[in-house]
């Protein structure tokens, strides 16, 4: 199975990287940009054939290591056969 994990700073936590990118996009003429948040994208391949079980394990991985849930949210987007 293959899982895709997105990790982003929680909405209340200042994201200076996102702000810098937003400012630069504005300078490039993308005046419609209202907010940019930068995160991480993690692809995890598992030796596990049951999607529900794979998702449960990936959630555990996120809680214990992949995300720091004090300041970050994570989202497991897809658990699909690799």
């Amino acid at each position: 199975m293959k899982a895709r994990v997105f990790v982003t700073l929680k909405s209340g936590v200042l994201d200076p990287q996102g702000q810098a990118v937003q400012k630069t996009l504005g300078r490039l003429g993308f005046a419609e940009v209202q907010d940019v948040r930068i995160g991480k994208y993690v692809v995890i391949e598992l030796d596990e054939s049951d999607p529900a079980r794979a998702r449960e394990r990936v959630n555990q991985m996120c809680e214990r290591l992949i995300a720091n849930t004090v300041i970050e949210d994570y989202h497991v987007e897809e658990v699909s056969p690799s």
Binding site: L14, P16, L65, N68
Partner: protein, 243 residues
């Protein structure tokens, strides 16, 4: 007093910390040794220092991998039994990632790696590393980090519980937004756990123990002298910058 200094792959302030406790403060009764991260036992130590550096190359997040090193289980047991633990810079990040301290260190507001001398007010909380420093005194140390913006989801509770130990201030001791180098909440430079025996801070006291080396003169010495006085169980007042 025997200090154990944890060494992770990528630690780079471990020898500096060891030098302080094993050489500079040897005349005061301190000694120290390095403890490898793969060890599972601290051995006979009276205090633990988790030093600065870039453990595991700061992969994923600063301190994230080191927090799960084999030795950290022993550090947790030591801390839970009331043993004094000091985390400096990356060590502070590691203690937060391991859950021994609350909050997290996020990317500096400026996005820059900041290497500078700073002043910090020492709050009144009684900890092994600050009890001998008069409350309200401000001391000079250096910082060198890219992820030092202290963030806590319940900052009011942390303040109410008196777990803030150090705050960035001006050379005059004023805690102001201008004195905040990295965007930390409430100018926080260091905190302790609820019990007070685990302390973490971004500034480097181990780089400020000898006038010759600059970086704040000898103000950093006061943290280690506090620990020595704590171990002896004698009331003490130690130096620091001008009030």
């Amino acid at each position: 007093m025997k200090f154990g200094v944890i060494r992770f792959p990528g630690s780079n302030c471990d020898d500096d910390a060891l030098y302080v406790v094993d050489k500079a403060l040897a005349p005061e009764g301190a000694s120290g040794r390095i403890i490898w991260h793969k060890d599972t036992d601290l051995g006979a130590v009276d205090a633990v220092i988790v030093p600065g550096g870039f453990s595991y190359g700061d992969y994923l997040r600063a301190g994230a991998m080191a927090a799960h090193s084999p030795i950290m289980a022993a550090v947790k047991r030591f801390a839970e039994a009331g043993g004094p633990v000091l985390g400096i810079c990356n060590g502070f990040q590691i203690l937060c990632e391991s859950g021994l301290l609350e909050g997290a260190l996020a990317r500096n507001e400026s996005l820059q790696f900041i290497c500078a001398d700073v002043w910090c007010v020492v709050e009144g909380r009684r900890t092994p590393f600050t009890h001998a420093i008069p409350a309200g005194r401000h001391i000079r140390m250096s910082i060198a980090h890219a992820e030092g913006r202290y963030t806590h989801p319940e900052i009011d509770r942390l303040e109410r519980e008196g777990q803030v130990v150090f705050r960035y201030c001006t050379a005059d001791g004023e805690v102001s937004p201008e004195a905040n180098p990295n965007g930390s909440m409430d100018n926080i430079a260091g905190v302790c756990n609820a019990a007070g025996n685990v302390v973490g801070l971004m500034p480097h006291p181990e780089r400020a123990v000898e006038e010759l080396l600059g970086h704040g003169g000898e103000d950093g010495r006061s943290l280690f002298l506090s620990a020595l006085a704590w171990e002896r169980g004698t009331p003490a007042r130690v130096g620091g910058g001008a009030l």
